[in-house]
């Protein structure tokens, strides 16, 4: 099984989720994160102090899928999450050796 971790623009979430649901992904876990990268943030000014942050708000999606779903998942995310402007984010794939569904104790593919 594979763990797909995707960093996306927050307002793209609904589209990405729909694209994933469409290909049969039934679960994922979402975290609000800050992304540091090429994309530069707005300058914030508070009286005398100016801060130009490079930390942009992003969503981090985590989904474990069966090996054969991985490529389709990646494509779905890349397609739906793309705006074509800097800061669209990344997708990382890592191997997962074991998955458990807490409710039932089911393991691996059964647990997805």
């Amino acid at each position: 099984m594979k763990l797909i971790t995707a960093i996306i623009k927050p307002y793209k979430f609904d589209e990405v989720r729909d694209a994933l649901t469409a290909i049969g992904v039934e679960g994922m876990t979402v975290t609000e994160v800050k992304g540091f990268g090429r994309q530069k943030g707005q300058t914030e000014i508070y009286r005398g102090a100016e801060y130009s942050t490079n930390l942009m708000p992003k969503l981090r999606l985590e989904l474990v899928v069966a090996d054969d779903m991985a490529e389709r998942g990646i494509e779905a995310i890349q397609h739906a999450g793309r705006t074509g402007t800097i800061g669209d984010g990344k997708i990382f794939v890592t191997d997962v050796s074991e998955v458990v569904r807490i409710r039932t104790g089911d393991r691996n593919e059964l647990a997805l």
């Binding site: 307002y11 609904d14 707005q42 300058t43 914030e44 000014i45």
Partner: protein, 436 residues
């Protein structure tokens, strides 16, 4: 209204009449050597503060809590800046154009820059400067009410220009017509504290605005829940508190008229709050905080024109009826017609104002616990109320339509798509509301 009220027992004399008379015709009254009543002055000073508090922080919080985090500060800046700008314009020419003698629509410029008004000038039983201040808060609040209708997408510069022009061409004429000796003042329409001048006027401008600007990006598709109902609650509660100054202050004196307006501002509001709560509970399955505070505002709007005329029990009914109608607009009509009145300015201020304005003609009836007016006939009074209401709607609609059109064609009304998505706080104001 002025003539009718003269025959009327005094207890419920609307501010417009009582004070405008004093203010506008101070010369004539001068022979009678008017004296200041410290009790009335004290009440009007604090009423002024209460109404000012309705602008900031109350309206800012009420609206701000309802938008998404990324637009929070934009709403606060808008309300704050409009309030301040109107205060300046009021002193420069607003007061004079609204409250000096002139034609049917505008007064004159004799008191521009408050010329000739000293601390010793008297208006009724209070210093004229207090009357100027009290009315200033109304003038500053009204344009700020409008921003809720097209929150989260308007360009700040466009809004400031719109507000200044709308103040000049819609607020001032309406104030002059209803309170300042103009057109509507003589026709007997009852409007105790500004149902037409303030709420219908602002509500209709909001509707026109949200139609002209179009919907927010993602409206109807993305979730746009209020970012802090806690703040909305605080705003609503403070609006209620401030409204005691708005309504009971409109009696212009600390007496029975203020007392009646105050109790009605309690009972209509409580009735409306509970009505929304229970209707929502029945229809949607759960009674919500946003529901009860929406009812609060609906009740306050509806009782504004009636506060000095209806009885306390009649006001409960008034509040409840207006609340249910506003509920229907917010939950059904808006979705049916698809206009994005973001914070329900028209659906509550406009609709509630219309209901209140018309029902005032019913609830003033002594048989229903109202104070009555000289030669009261419900049929003809209802007609008079309807005429004034329609004039208010029409005037505001036409002026708003023209202004929004002109601004749209020149500097544009909306921020860019990217800016809207980023949120106005960062893109228009360079700040973020929270860094927890």
């Amino acid at each position: 209204m002025q003539k009718l009220l003269r025959h009327f027992a005094g207890a419920a004399a609307g501010l417009g009449t009582a004070l405008a008379a004093g203010a506008a015709f101070a010369q004539d009254a001068a022979e009678a050597t008017p004296v200041i009543d410290t009790g009335d002055t004290s009440w009007m000073l604090i009423s002024t503060v209460l109404v000012a508090m309705m602008i900031v922080p109350a309206l800012g919080l009420f609206y701000g809590g309802l938008v998404r985090t990324k637009n929070m500060l934009s709403v606060l800046v808008q309300v704050f800046a409009i309030g301040c700008l109107m205060m300046i314009l009021w002193v420069l020419y607003g007061y004079s154009l609204a409250f000096t003698e002139g034609n049917a629509v505008y007064g004159g410029l004799s008191k521009a820059f408050l010329a000739g008004i000293t601390p010793d000038s008297v208006s009724g039983t209070i210093p004229e400067l207090v009357f100027v201040c009290f009315q200033m808060t109304f003038a500053a609040l009204t344009p700020a009410l409008i921003v809720g209708a097209f929150a989260e997408r308007i360009k700040f510069s466009a809004l400031l220009i719109f507000s200044a022009l709308w103040f000049t061409f819609s607020y001032i004429p309406m104030a002059h017509m209803v309170w300042g000796g103009g057109w509507l003042q003589g026709d007997g329409a009852l409007d105790f504290a500004g149902g037409t001048v303030v709420h219908i006027n602002a509500g209709v401008a909001g509707l026109v605005g949200c139609l002209m600007l179009g919907k927010r990006i993602g409206y109807g598709r993305e979730a746009m829940p209020p970012h802090s109902l806690t703040l909305t609650m605080v705003g609503a509660a403070l609006l209620w508190m401030g409204w005691f100054g708005f309504n009971a202050g409109s009696a212009a004196a600390a007496g029975g008229g203020a007392a009646l307006a105050m109790i009605n501002t309690f009972t209509a509001t409580a009735g409306a709050a509970l009505a929304w709560l229970f209707v929502e509970w029945a229809v949607k399955g759960k009674p919500s905080l946003l529901g009860i505070v929406s009812g609060v505002i609906a009740g306050l709007v509806a009782v504004t024109p009636a506060a000095g005329f209806a009885g306390p029990v009649g006001s409960i009914v008034l509040g409840a009826v207006a609340s249910v109608i506003c509920f229907f607009f917010c939950t059904t009509i808006k979705n049916r017609f698809g206009y994005d009145d973001s914070l329900d300015v028209f659906n509550i201020h406009g609709v509630g104002g219309i209901v209140g304005s018309i029902l005032t003609g019913v609830l003033v009836a002594p048989s229903l616990g109202g104070t009555g007016i000289d030669g009261f006939d419900m049929g003809s009074q209802l007609w008079t109320q309807t005429v004034a209401t329609v004039v208010g709607i029409g005037w505001s609609a036409i002026v708003s339509l023209i202004l929004f059109f002109l601004i749209d064609k020149t500097i544009g009304l909306r921020v860019s798509t990217d800016e809207e998505r980023e949120g106005l706080d960062l893109s228009s104001h360079g700040e973020r509301a929270y860094h927890y």
